[in-house]
Amino acid sequence: MVKRVKFSEISPSEFFYRNRDLAGFTNPSRSLYSAVREFVENSLDACDEAGILPEIRVELSYLEEGRYDPQPYRLVVEDNGMGIDPRHLPDAFGRVFFGSKFVLKQARGMFGMGGTMAILYSQITTNRPAKVSSSVDGVKRYSFKLLIDIYENRPIIIERRVEPAERRGTRIEVSLYGDYTRAEPKITEYIRQTSLITPYATLHFKDPKGRELHFERVTVVMPKPPSPTKPHPHGIDVEALRRMIRLSKERTLLKFMSSNFHRVGEKTASAFLEFAGFDKERDPKTLDNEELVRFVEALRSYNGFLKPDSSCLSPVGEEILRAGIMKSLEPEFLEVVSRPPSAYSGYPFIIEAGLAYNCKGIEGLKLYRYANRVPLLYDEYSDVVSKVVNDELDLRRYGVKPNTSLAIITHICSTKVPYKTVGKEFVADRPEIERELKNALRELLRRLRRYLGRKRSYEMVRRRMNIYGKYLPLLARFSKELSGMKRMPRYRSLLKEGELVEERHG
């Protein structure tokens, strides 16, 4: 007897509502942190894409006075970005999987889902509408009060207003349940670390206790914005291929291949089709399931494709990274490196890293992990960077003594960062990424070793001078007395020899 199973479709909103733990909305403390993070990242993306120097205000306040955590908070995030067209504004925040980010290019958020999740979370904890407003021209500002219809995955607009705008940009205000007492260290650390990787941004944070953090921009140089790219054949799965075929107007496999894939022209396409054993003239829409699977397998195993290029990536760049670390950590010694682009499973990535020695306020080793300019604060020990630093590198070999004040800053930028979980807090240990990280950090550590070596030899010369300055005169005096000679021996030239050594090193 076969049991009849009833299938019912659920909307993306409902799916995420049921699985909000995955997106980082586990408990009041973590949720407050996640909400701040999601909105700040949206705002920074909105500025970066338009080439606007970001200025972002974050304000957290108690919804009611005199309560204890966990309690409801009001969170306001305001930016000076390019703004959102009023026609898309409610959908941008009130519908899951609506957004401008569903293409292959590097951005902080992937699908524009986090902001909506935060609104969803605020709605289910306080049942208050979110207030979103935006101005694209700095003249008119459109404001909406909205709730999300979880079952239908669409916004319910409660109020819509148009006001004169003071400036361009987007503002969002939500009321949500949180625990600031617990979240405070993570939230302030998040803002601090964000300012390190985006030194061209000005960040203001005002917390519920009235304390304020201000991070002024230290450079007006912005990273080169990325350009969107087509997917690389190595990174395609059956579902993606099916979708591409459905959307494509091309009638032959040759045309389909050469117009839909990254760095694939007609020559590469026909060579591949020959390798895979598919007819160039075949209509892609006629491929059956089995053939699709075979096609994807061939895509993955074919070695003739060009490596993905990095035009879709936007590394921070050595200059900006240096400025950010200098300002945040005030190290005695700093080196940064931006590795050449590389790729894993068809996704291009670039590793950037910094090594700061003897930093203000840091004792021992501290890791600053970033992925697509987002600081990663949780689950440090599961991250590939931890693995490389703790297991693969022997810091002592580079002359680094235990408990040395040392900050390692790593930034992985990619069209797809291989997070281990949906919560986007730690990066999986792909061998290609691990190798690049290792190369970057080794390079930096070698430079640190050279610096420490020079410093040590300089200190040794100084110590030598002190020691000889003290003992040679004593040696001269005692030997004179002991031998019964009348005058002091002429030992001064030996002291000068010490000075010569110092000049050579200094």
């Binding site: 040794m460 003992y471 040696l475 001269a476 005692f478 030997s479 021996p489 030992y491």
Partner: protein, 361 residues
């Protein structure tokens, strides 16, 4: 009787010190970093010399080179010590290990601890192959001597003054003034060195010095170097045979062996040994023969016996035989054990018998 040994020795030391000073001075004066080569005292460089029948240092040297930043401090300390010792000898003053450690501070020199200063003193000993007593640096522990021996002091204030070492029944402390004194005359025909003060007093009371024509020495346990040096002088200068009487255990046997053959710790020194001396007991076989009250050997005693069995000084003769006897009977006896048969038993019966016995050895 030979005279002037102590004085000659002092002059030798002073000459070596001046030579060291001149070498360092000349190097410095010609713009070179001075260096000193000291026989290495590392365990690997300590070898047993069968001919001398003592431990000596091998051929390895350590170099103290002023041009090496790690050496300049200890080299300066060494030269300072030489200078300080030279002053002590010239002024006729004596000092102790602790004194030296503090005296350094008066010269803007410092030792980080007593061990560092002691180590430099041993360096100077090794460099000049002279014991620190020759530098007028004396240890705190002292043993004593009693018997008919007239000495003449050489220390300032007492020069030329003579004294007979039988004038005071508690004995004379073997300190700096006695060590540096010249021997004038004696009627003694042997030296009896005993491990313990109690037995020393009994021997004086029983007039052993008269009955056996002996000088009696209290070793006070493991003999200080000044005492070992004095025993050697009594043997060499006065031709007196040396007899050593210790507890009947491996530790007692070792006290005797160190006096005869020297210690590994003093392998850098010569002229501290009395290879012709005799250990007259208490042997393991005496415990059985004289039916002495005894205690069982402890684990530590047994372990010590096994260590000594591997030592080249114990490879032959009674040394080897008695160690094995201790292992066999697994018992030990103290000198006082003889009191079971009356307080004078050891003097009346044991001593004459043993002295007779070892003469034939």
């Amino acid at each position: 009787m030979r005279r002037g040994t102590a004085k000659r020795r002092k002059e030798e030391v002073e000459a070596s010190l001046r030579k060291l000073g001149l070498e360092v001075y000349r190097k410095l004066d010609s713009g070179d970093f001075p260096e000193v080569r000291i026989p290495s005292r590392s365990v690997r460089n300590i070898v047993y010399d069968k001919r001398l029948r003592q431990y000596v240092l091998g051929k390895a040297f350590v170099r103290r080179y002023a041009g090496n930043i790690k050496h300049i401090r200890s080299l300066t300390q060494l030269v300072w010590l030489a200078f300080f010792v030279d002053k002590l000898l010239k002024d006729g003053k004596t000092s102790t290990l602790r004194d030296v450690y503090y005296s350094a501070q008066a010269y803007n020199m410092e030792f980080k601890d007593q061990a560092e200063s002691n180590n430099i003193i041993t360096d100077l000993e090794a460099l000049l192959t002279k014991a620190r007593e020759d530098f007028n640096i004396y240890p705190e522990e002292r043993s004593s001597i009693f018997g008919d021996l007239t000495i003449e002091y050489t220390i300032p204030g007492y020069e030329g003054k003579r004294i007979n070492l039988s004038s005071h029944p508690d004995g004379y402390m073997i300190g700096p003034s006695l060590s540096s004194a010249e021997f004038v005359e004696t009627s003694a025909e042997m030296v009896l060195a005993v491990e313990k003060g109690g037995m020393f007093t009994r021997f004086v009371e029983e007039r052993v010095h008269e009955r056996f024509k002996a000088l009696i020495v209290d070793l006070a346990g493991q003999a200080p170097r000044a005492t070992r040096y004095l025993l050697r002088r009594l043997n060499r200068e006065l031709g007196l045979p040396i007899y050593i009487l210790t507890d009947g255990d491996p530790w007692g046997e070792h006290i005797a062996a160190v006096i005869l053959f020297g210690s590994a710790n003093a392998a850098h020194l010569r002229e501290l040994t009395v290879p012709d001396g005799k250990w007259i007991g208490v042997w393991a076989s005496d415990i059985v023969k004289y039916k002495l009250p005894s205690d069982p050997l402890s684990d530590v005693d047994v372990k010590r016996i096994h260590e000594l069995l591997r030592d080249p000084r114990y490879k032959e003769g009674i040394w080897q035989r008695e160690l094995k006897n201790f292992l066999k009977i697994r018992r030990k006896s103290e000198l006082e054990a003889f009191s079971k048969y009356g307080l004078t038993h050891i003097v009346d019966r044991y001593l004459p018998e043993k002295l007779e016995l070892v003469k034939g050895l």
